[in-house]
């Protein structure tokens, strides 16, 4: 039985985890670097231990110091949050060695899913679709054509040694395959000194769709529907929503079943996310599995009316997962409010928050560790709040989010609020018409002065 949880994290997620612990009647231990001495996660915790200087590598990333803090406070479990040590198999193992329950995936789960190639093979073996491709390099255009016809056009011909788009050619049908193959191979030769190419199914208009799952470590696993995370800037998600505007009940059931298949096959324990690429034909392909709670988990909580951290803890306590269908009620959107200047290439904007008024009212949730007078330290990531709304439909949720963004007042630092306002006002976003490359071409209007 878990009675006292050490939260090996900082910022909003430390507060988030603490809330659920307190609601479950569990005591908490916060750990903090000297830069976070005045943080709310320190203030609100039952106990708090300073574990090191500001730099993460000497504080939040130090398993020895965190275990020592757990030992001196008698914590019997550690919740790692996201980032830091959350997907560190060695840390999960050290916790077990010290008889401290790691609230997360098993070391085996973390290790397996941390290796993309192993992960793909595991999923393929379990019957989960992955992006089809040739088994390594193909020697001749004829061999390549055979592979391509098996997987279906269009296909990408890619240099084995490639990168940056060179030695990469799209073939939309058999008639042009040979020509494109030869061009790619020649380009690869001149660019990388290696003419070897391989074939991969072309994913057109790819969207990042992920399925939230929960397993109990015995093979029993459920899913909580999908999250749409295609709005990314340099692989950083900025806006997430559930459900996706392009996933219907049938597709949701199939993707959910695939995610469960994959997670069950490794006796997955805890909350996890199976990430898929969804193409514009409705085909989906496994990308990777994240073995932790994710930043964007609240959109799932809002449409399923459940507490995923509570489930993490209950599974860690040995509770079994009961198979059931979890309906999605309404539509939820999350905007990440970062201390960044969207009009200056999203450059970080640490500093003193002078005014802080979070949005409120029906259907609005704010997860934040910031407050008026809070000094954003320059050592950690720039996210200062997650603004989440839920409404009956996607249209209403967008309206509610625009209203909530209008009334979110943060003064003293730049934030991504103006970016979100322009994005959510755009025709393309409102129509749900975007893929993972959308932000590459989205042009921000200059700020109103």
């Amino acid at each position: 039985m878990i009675k006292k949880v050490l939260i090996a994290n900082r910022g909003e997620i430390a507060l988030r985890i603490m809330r659920t612990c307190h609601e479950m009647g569990l005591k908490t231990v916060a750990v903090f670097s000297t830069a976070d001495r005045d943080s709310l996660h320190v203030r609100f915790s039952d106990e708090a231990v300073c574990i090191g200087p500001p730099e993460s590598r000497d504080s939040y990333l130090r398993p020895d110091r965190i275990i020592a803090a757990a030992e001196v406070t008698g914590a019997d479990a550690i919740h790692p949050g996201y980032g830091f040590l959350s997907e560190n198999a060695a840390f999960s193992e050290i916790c077990a060695d010290h008889k401290i329950k790691f609230i997360g995936a098993s070391p085996e789960n973390i290790r397996l899913m941390g290796n993309k190639s192993f992960a793909k093979k595991t999923m393929l073996a379990a019957g989960v679709p992955v992006v089809p491709g040739s088994d390594g390099e193909v020697a001749t255009p004829e061999e390549g054509l055979k592979v391509a016809e098996e997987m279906g056009f269009p296909v990408m011909i890619k240099a084995s040694a490639g990168g940056g788009g060179r030695g990469m050619r799209l073939a939309t049908g058999s008639d042009e395959f040979e020509r494109q193959f030869k061009t790619a191979s020649a380009e690869a030769g001149s660019a990388f000194g290696n003419e070897g190419v391989y074939i991969e199914k072309f994913v057109s208009g790819p969207r990042h769709i992920e399925i939230q799952v929960l397993g109990d470590g015995t093979g029993s696993c459920i899913h909580f529907g999908e999250r749409e995370c295609s709005i990314q800037r340099r692989h950083q998600k900025l806006v997430e929503e559930s459900p996706s505007p392009v996933v219907d009940a049938n597709l949701r059931a199939r993707m959910g079943e695939s995610a469960i298949l994959g997670a069950s096959s490794v006796n997955y324990e805890g909350a996890g996310t199976v990430e898929f690429l969804l193409d514009d034909q409705g085909n989906y392909y496994f990308m990777e599995m994240n073995t932790r709670i994710q930043v964007e988990h609240p959109v799932t909580e809002e449409v399923t009316d459940c507490d995923l951290v509570e489930y993490q803890i209950r599974v860690a306590m040995g509770e079994k997962v009961r198979k059931r269908d979890i309906p999605l009620l309404g539509h939820a959107i999350e905007c990440r409010i970062n201390a960044e200047n969207p009009f200056n290439n999203f450059s970080p904007s640490p500093g003193l928050i002078q005014t802080f008024h979070p949005s409120g009212g029906h259907g609005v949730r704010v997860d934040t560790h910031a407050y008026a007078g809070y000094q954003i330290p320059p050592y950690y990531d720039s996210m200062i709040a997650k603004l989440i709304v839920r409404a009956r439909t996607r249209d209403l949720a967008i309206r509610k989010m625009l209203r909530a963004l209008d009334e979110f007042v943060i003064e003293g630092v730049h934030t991504t609020i103006p970016f979100h306002q322009q994005l959510l006002s755009s025709d393309a976003f409102q129509k749900g018409d975007f893929d993972t490359r959308f932000l590459e071409t989205f042009v921000l209007k200059p700020p109103n002065l």
Binding site: T34, V49, R65, A68, V72, L352, G373, Y374, Q375
Partner: protein, 150 residues
Amino acid sequence: MNLDRLREIIVLVEESGVSEIEIEEDGLRIVVRKDSPRPATAPEPQIVAPVIASPATSDEESTVSDTTEDPGQKIHAPIVGTYFSAPSPDSDPFITVGQRVKPGDVLCIIEAMKLMNEIESEVSGVVLEILVENGVPVEFDQPLFVIETT
């Protein structure tokens, strides 16, 4: 305004934890800023309830590796763990008040993850004060000793 006065103000800011002090006087204006201030409206640190018996309240940035020549220098815990003043329950303590220490002398043990970490002095001087009791948990940066360096 002389340099001593300015130094006093700088010390004031450093010790107070405010982010900025601005003084305007006889046509002279001084602004003293600090990079990582403790904001004025931050929750009062005393509400923080660390489990550790004697929380680190010192504002200085010094640690055991700090070798500035201030008399009465505080020696801080470099790691989290349980503090032991002697190598075993039956032994004499490593140091006592009034004792002279030099770099390399063991000051105490901090146990973390079942490992006994000997904490060595990096300064020379006389032990003025021992701030924690045998067997209690200490956190990072918590002051352990005051040593008069000379």
